[in-house]
Symmetry: C2
Subunit: 443 residues, 2 copies
Amino acid sequence: MTTDLMPNRYRPGETELPSREAELIARRDSVLGASYRLQYRRPVHFVRGEGMWLYDPDGRAYLDFYNNVPSLGHCHPEVNAAMAEQAGRISANTRYLEPHLVDYAERLVETFPTEIDRVVFTCTGSESNDLALRIARYTSGNEGVIVSSYAYHGTSAAVAAVSPNLGDAVKFSPNARIVALPGPAGVPDSQAADFFESQVRAAIDDLNRRGIGVAALLFDSIFSSDGVWIDPPGFIAGGVQAVREAGGLVIADEVQPGFGRTGSHMWGFERHGIVPDLATLGKPMGNGFPIGAVVGRKGPMERFGAIARYSNTFAGNTVGIATADAVLTILQRDRIPENVLAMGQFLRDGLEQIASRQSGIRAIRNAGLFLGVDMGTGDASPTDRRKLALDVVNAMRDDGVLISTTGANEDTLKVRPPLICEADHVELFLAALERALAKVAVA
Amino acid sequence: MTTDLMPNRYRPGETELPSREAELIARRDSVLGASYRLQYRRPVHFVRGEGMWLYDPDGRAYLDFYNNVPSLGHCHPEVNAAMAEQAGRISANTRYLEPHLVDYAERLVETFPTEIDRVVFTCTGSESNDLALRIARYTSGNEGVIVSSYAYHGTSAAVAAVSPNLGDAVKFSPNARIVALPGPAGVPDSQAADFFESQVRAAIDDLNRRGIGVAALLFDSIFSSDGVWIDPPGFIAGGVQAVREAGGLVIADEVQPGFGRTGSHMWGFERHGIVPDLATLGKPMGNGFPIGAVVGRKGPMERFGAIARYSNTFAGNTVGIATADAVLTILQRDRIPENVLAMGQFLRDGLEQIASRQSGIRAIRNAGLFLGVDMGTGDASPTDRRKLALDVVNAMRDDGVLISTTGANEDTLKVRPPLICEADHVELFLAALERALAKVAVA
């Protein structure tokens, strides 16, 4: 694992910047401080967004193939109109009766398998995962949490402590256990399910031996921060079963894969043919408005809700609900997942064609419009591969196309455009990638 | 402490409701479940809000003397216009340069004493307190947290575990220690500071003896969930000093007292003449938009930020920033705190007049427009006092005025109108309280 936890970032002094940006960064650093990092060697500065595009102060357009929050595109007029209309009428909390809250909650759980019929709203994906862990620990009576090698589940204390992706700087919980994924371990597809299950069983045994017990298997069903390891579908099923047998809950972190990102399904766990006990939602739920949720089976949701007062001031607020309702309406009405499936395939085909005529691409993985593209030639060192990925990302940024990196070694291109992207956008992206590969030194 | 953790709520079967509300509650219960509780014996149902008023589906107006999130009033047109305008232009995250984020961050820290010059944005008050604890634990190297007897600091796992107000249902952290407040303990003002300091020193000694150490004193500077215990100003200073000497940080939870609620100051800790290491913000910051922050001194903020990647997807989003900026602009331009001070005094004077001619009011405490009004006659049992408070709150609700209860025994009326309230509103409130006291049986 690379020790630089955000390699694709601006480092003061490394790049000469125009005074407009340099002065803004100096002011920013002195009031926001070190925890705020800027993406790209030369940070981007945007003043306007529309659909697939972001614009800098000079009017230059950047094609956005990275942001998975505005999944219906930047500044969607219909979503914004719903938000503004509701904000002008009433912004009520959930301790007052309000029909829109109930209507949306019903519509949301209808998109899940029938076993999942309860929802609690939050404001962020981190709050969703934090609450899911509280529910799992309370209802299982256990403390242990099993996560994948480079999992990232959010920013709260409890969730950061089970996010190995944050590195050694953030204390990893003594109650957390890590399981390796078959893909990055080089296990063939035919043995992937057994490999994963045996990892999970070993983690359970260790947690039980120490009297910690297993509260939850917490996983992002496309393992995005591990480097987008999605195949073979179903490889997690044996591990899921093992956790259930040990008394733990299964929590699908749908913050990144959910709301149609995979194209084939509304929720990422569906690709694996399993039904979790809890699923956590966030990022694209309000196309940028801060809203998240925990959805789940009646059993654990009611056992927790009956004892614990969970009152989240802003969550379920009518303005967030109206915004999220507009997002769900558009996703369903415009059959966005169908577009995701088609564009995901088109993008993947284009990448394979580039890989066939140009060196530098080692592997391509995708579930709909979440793609991981491993960089480097076969014999390149991890350092060279990471440098290549960073060089490509930054060459594309200079060329006006936004992506970033992911994976244990941060040598995988992370490509996840808004879900409304069209063939023209894909072609622009592919052309920019090909130019970038031609320009940088492919080690 | 009452075992019913939210006494002012609807209990199915206790009250006969119109079918429109009964049917909505049945649907709500089956999708949102047990953790969602409705306020008042007969829940309220609102479809429109404006300034100090909320309206039910029949057009009946309710005077809002309870909601401290829309502190500039419901559906403020100028705040909403700023939100909508920004949402239509760009909704960018903090990894891209954007001047508005920096402008607002500078304006926000300028409202604090000069020692406090750094800010990290969050989405909720819970996230703010959770992050503040992470910073305090990392920079102190200790784990212990000292809180007041009935403190409530939020919903995340780490924060709920140091919130005794949540009761026995939520596991209280073995690293947390409780300190009694002088007011509810009946300690006279002249001994209040010594009493508080000796409580804090005893907590520190116990934490040190067990090798836990003190990471933070975490306190709401108006101790609202303890029952609004604000006096005498400065009584916390010795305890603050003791925590600093022991290597802990001082965290002012300004989620409720902040942004001018006390009238005399922008931030509640200023009433006590101390400067904390960190202060946490939430509720009224965006007049309802989900935004919060941790502000603090450079030392701990930079030590944490340098090691921990804190990346909160929605926090610092330009739409939240534009909304919060509009709120701060209006607070300052319209000199809202001056109105708070005047209306708080007018409200207090009116309550004292009622108390002088009608039984049932034992004590009145206020800091600006956050008031606690203890209910019951001198010899009433805790149960009778609580019943009286609930009867008064529900009689007022039926009369079209919204307040609720607080305190260890939930026998204190919690009165906290939007900060824009005017003399006419105060008079309506006082008349409704007098009617309610005349109507209910004063035990």
